[in-house]
Symmetry: C2
Subunit: 307 residues, 2 copies
């Protein structure tokens, strides 16, 4: 398998979810030959956008670097408000190996991007998760603790992996890392009470007695009169989406609250669709190969096309 065939996903998270012209400029900056911009999910309450890029190493690094440079010109964290925790204009940049590529390669990409962002753009970089240089930086929530507002104090005690030892004045710092695929999934509850959202998030989150492989935060989305439990399922084959959602539902119900609807941020791997279909339909025989359109496409690769 050549370098051009080994594909990676990169999902830069920007602290901007409201200004369409800024988002459009980020998307344009990412459009590099060979790289596919699968999506750009903007959330006005979070004031944050999640871009999903797929490509081979070289062109993907070019694309991500260009969109980070573009973000620095238009996003000013000193004026940023939003309910999602953040420490940078470009807040977090994970690389994920796809089929054919390895975690080691994704870590290398994170390190290379980090050096360029530190040197050329003068933004301090913390490596996190699989790319972390010390154990206490593996967990993104720890890396981001105190957020942008506390960054000067924190950086003095805990210098970054790359770039200047002080926060960038408008862009803060960025966490760059490598990780396995995850599912970012938000659940809306029919209450405006953040106390309820916090109790539910605490109950499902692995770090406080809930499900292993689930990270959860309560988020206030006051405009809609509904609070949100925002989850990352970081090991969705071991702790699948239905188990997390049904636990949220049950913990909310105990507090007299219902799930109104849910929301997917970015993309969901087909494995997770299979898990959900098997679970809810009690259909152990389900797989992507039982989906008519998929089966037709797949059969085309085999003897069906010998005509």
């Amino acid at each position: 398998m050549t370098d051009e065939e080994r594909m990676f996903e990169c999902i830069p998270n920007f602290s901007e979810g409201r200004r369409p012209e800024v988002l459009e400029a980020l998307r344009r900056a990412a459009e590099v030959p060979g790289v596919r911009v699968l999506g750009l999910d903007a959330d006005p309450d979070h004031n944050r956008a999640v871009m999903t890029l797929v490509g081979p190493r070289g062109s993907l690094l070019t694309s991500v670097f260009a969109t980070i440079r573009q973000a620095l010109e238009t996003i000013d964290l000193t004026r940023h408000e939003g309910v999602h925790p953040r420490m940078g204009a470009v807040d977090v940049v994970p690389f994920v190996p796809l089929q054919g590529s390895s975690e080691a390669e994704a870590i290398e990409m994170a390190r290379e991007l980090g050096r360029r962002v530190g040197d050329e753009l003068q933004v301090p970089v913390y490596f996190y998760e699989l790319a972390a240089t010390r154990p206490e930086r593996r967990n993104l929530a720890d890396v981001r603790r105190g957020q942008f507002e506390a960054l000067s104090v924190r950086m003095a005690a805990d210098p970054p992996d790359c770039g200047p030892p002080e926060p960038h004045p408008t862009a803060g710092a960025v966490a760059i890392g490598a990780r396995r695929p995850l599912i970012a999934f938000n659940v809306y509850l029919n209450t405006g009470s953040m106390a309820v959202a916090r109790r539910v998030a605490k109950a499902v989150r692995g770090s406080s007695g809930g499900l292993v492989g689930v990270k959860a935060l309560a988020m206030d989305t006051r405009n809609h009169g509904r609070v949100q439990v925002s989850m990352n399922l970081v090991d969705y084959r071991t702790t699948p989406l239905p188990r997390a959602l049904e636990l949220v539902r049950e913990e909310a119900r105990q507090l007299g609250v219902l799930v109104v609807q849910t929301e997917l941020v970015g993309f969901m791997p087909f494995d997770a669709v299979e898990d959900a279909m098997r679970y809810y339909l009690q259909l152990p025989g389900f797989s992507r190969h039982r989906v008519l359109e998929v089966a037709i496409k797949e059969s085309g690769k085999e003897w069906g096309d010998r005509e």
Copy 2:
């Protein structure tokens, strides 16, 4: 769009679900260049197999005819036992238009196959559903009433559309038709009581007060100590799979019985997967385009490949 690009699905149902060598011969007979044998689902309790074929008009007709001819050599209905109603060795042969093809064309294919089966194989043919020649033959259950055992008497009063006026001695008669795509879905209940299965089937079936677009039969699968509610969802966009399953669940629960698991016969269109994911995850934003692997494939068709 050329003739070779307009694709159809054909799903012949054979009254054989036990002898592997017979099933294998049916599959081999269907293998005609240009036709894809997507699957062959055999059910030993039903003693029935469902083959799913996809191809353009000409080669698909060749393939289906060959497999029907093969079935006549190996399946003898005078010795057939199984819980699924049937009137023929090849019991029912529906054609379904796929993207790019029309119902009118599917009806024409059914008629052409019917004439050949009647003339060349001397098996009587009843056209059903969209291909029916009179209203009382639209519904397959009506066409098949009395099954193989009552066929002589019935045919005397109600002659077939093609072929001889008497049943084929070992192959009975065949229903050939055209229809829209459907989902064939079986639900197993944790009881051996056929009375329960019948009450549940009656409650969900459209013809007896249940859901429009749902056909349902109680089936005895004694070997497993579990009865089955076997459903066809004939208009799954209007009456989606989750609604049918949850009604089965609720009607069974009223009788103190639980759903143990379910089973898909053949394939499920992607539309139905989307409906189920939206329903159970309360995720209105879900679509196939949010599945990572699908999004990557689709993006390859656009500017991502301009490299």
